[in-house]
C-alpha cells in the first residue's frame, strides 16, 4: 500500500496521563479514513499529533515518505497537512474571505482557490464579508474546512465536523466531501456520528481508550460491530 500517512507504535501523553497507546495507523493516498470512538478515545489527540500540535512520546509519524514526528506545525502545513480543529477556531475578528485567505498563507499551489471553495460551499460566498465571530455553527464549520482547503493539502484532517450542528447542516457539509476527495485530497475524518462516518469513508478505524479496537473497510462492517467496538461492549482494549 502506498501510504501517505503512517503512524507506527505512537504513544502520546498529556503530562502523566497517557492518551494514546502504541497506535498504528495508515492512510493511503486518495483514501478517506474515518476514525471513530467515544469521548476520550484519543481521536482529537491523534489529530493533534498528526498536525504537530502535540508530539508523540514514542513512535514515529511519517508523511509522504518523510519522518515528521518532530516537525513544527506550521512546517507540516506547508508540506501538505491541514487540520480543521475541534471547535473550528475561526479567526473571529476577520471576515469569511479573510479567514480563507489566511488559509492560503503557506502559498502551496493546487486546485483550491477562493472561487473553488465558494463553489464547494455556496453558503460561504453569500457570507464572505461577515466576520467570523458572527457566523452560525454551520457557517463556521464550512469556513474552517474551506480555510484548511486553501492550503491545498495532500491530507485533510477533519475533527468532529458534526459536533453541535443540526442534522440538515451536517448533511450539507458532508455533501461537499466527495468533491474534496475527487480533487485528489486524502481525508481523515474523526467522528462520533457513525452514520456520517460510514457513509463517507472507505475504511474505518475505531478507537477505545487510546487503542485500536476495530479496523475494517466501511462496506464490510456492520453498524452493530462498530457500535460494539465504540462502546467496548465485546472487545477488551487491545492492539489489533
Amino acid at each position: 500500500m502506498n501510504a501517505l500517512l503512517e503512524l507506527t507504535e505512537v504513544d502520546v501523553h498529556y503530562g502523566d496521563f497517557q492518551a494514546i497507546y502504541g497506535l498504528d495507523l495508515a492512510v493511503a493516498e486518495g483514501e478517506t479514513l474515518a476514525v471513530i470512538g467515544a469521548n476520550g478515545a484519543g481521536k482529537t489527540t491523534l489529530l493533534k499529533t498528526i498536525s504537530g500540535l502535540m508530539k508523540p512520546t514514542r513512535g514515529t509519524v511519517r508523511f509522504a515518505g518523510q519522518d515528521v514526528s518532530r516537525m513544527a506545525t506550521h512546517k507540516r502545513v506547508r508540506s501538505g497537512i491541514a487540520l480543521t480543529p475541534e471547535g473550528r477556531r475561526i479567526f473571529g475578528s476577520m471576515t469569511v474571505e479573510e479567514n480563507l485567505k489566511v488559509g492560503a498563507f503557506g502559498q502551496r499551489p493546487g486546485p483550491w482557490t477562493l472561487s473553488a471553495v465558494y463553489d464547494a460551499f455556496p453558503l460561504l460566498a453569500e457570507k464572505r464579508t461577515r466576520r467570523g465571530g458572527f457566523l452560525s455553527g454551520g457557517e463556521q464549520q464550512a469556513t474552517a474546512i474551506g480555510r484548511a482547503l486553501m492550503s491545498n493539502p495532500k491530507l485533510l484532517l477533519l475533527d468532529e465536523v458534526s459536533l453541535g450542528l443540526a442534522p440538515v447542516v451536517i448533511a450539507d457539509i458532508y455533501a461537499a466531501l466527495p468533491a474534496i476527495a475527487a480533487k485528489g485530497t486524502t481525508v481523515l475524518v474523526v467522528e462520533q456520528d457513525l452514520t456520517q462516518a460510514l457513509a463517507v469513508a472507505d475504511r474505518v478505524q475505531c478507537l477505545l481508550e487510546g487503542r485500536t479496537v476495530l479496523e475494517a473497510a466501511a462496506t464490510e462492517v456492520t453498524r452493530a460491530e462498530v457500535a460494539d467496538a465504540y462502546f467496548g461492549t465485546t472487545h477488551t482494549p487491545q492492539e489489533v
Partner: protein, 290 residues
Amino acid sequence: MDWVNAVLQGVLLGGQYALLACGLSLMFGVMRIVNLAHGVLAVAAAYLAYWLVSHTALPSFVTLIIVIPVMAGVGWLLQMGLFNRALKHGELSPLLVSFGVAVIGANLLQEGFKADSRSIGIGDLATSSIKISDDLSIGVFSLITLVIAVVVIGGLTTFMNYTRIGRGMRATKDDHEAAKLMGINERTMYALATAIAIATVALAGVFLGMSTQFTPTYGDLVLIFAFEAVIIGGLGNLWATLIGGLVLGVAQTVGAQINPAYGVLAGHLVFLAVLLVRPQGLLVQKTVMA
C-alpha cells in the same frame, strides 16, 4: 482666539504623540505585549541620529535612512532573543523583561552620551510657520509630523488589512494556535511585528529629537505619553491611537492655556477620566470580538 490657538497647537502636538504611540499600539494589538522599553528605544533612535549628524556630514533627515532599518533590526532581535522566550512564561513576563530593557537602555545611553541634553538640528524648519490669521499660525515642522503620523497609521492599517503578512499577524492575534495550523510561524510573525513597531518608534524618536531637547532618561516621559494616547483612543486599533494622541495633545495645550503649569497634568487627568468612564477607550466598542 487664544483658545482656538490652544486647540490647534494641541492637534499638532497630538500628531507627535500619535506617531510615538502607534508602535506601542501595534505591539499590544498583535502580541498583548506592553513594551515598557518603548520610550527608551525612541530616545535611542534620536541619539543614533544625533551621533550620525555630528560624526558624518549627513543632513538630519537623511539619517532616517540608516536609523529606521537599524532600529527595526533591534526590534527583530529583541523579539527573537527576549520577548518570544518570555512569552512562554505567561503574559506578565514580557512586561518585566521590557522594563529591564528600559532600565539597561537608559543607563547605556547615559554611559555613551552623558546626561547633557541634546537636540537634532533642522535649521530654519524648526522656526518656520504658516500664518493663518493675525493670531493663528502653525509650525511647519509640527504640521509635517502630524501628516507623517497620519500616513504611518494609514500605511500600517492598510498593511494589516490587505497584505498576506498583515492578515497573518491578525490571525496570530486572534488565535495563535489556529494560526500555526494555517502554516504561520508565530515567532517570525511576532518578530516582524516588533521590527515594524520599533521602526515607527525610530521615526517618531528622530522627529522628537528634532522638535525638542532630549536626555538619556527622556524615554520615561515618552512612554507615559505614548501609553496615555493608546489607552485614551482604545487598545488594539491604530486609528483610535491617532485620536488618542490628538485628544492628549489638545488636553495638554488647553490645560496650559488655563495655567502654563497645568499642561501635562491636564493630559493625565483626561487619561484618568477615560479610564474611569470609558476604560475600553474612546473609539473601541466594548463588545469587540476576540
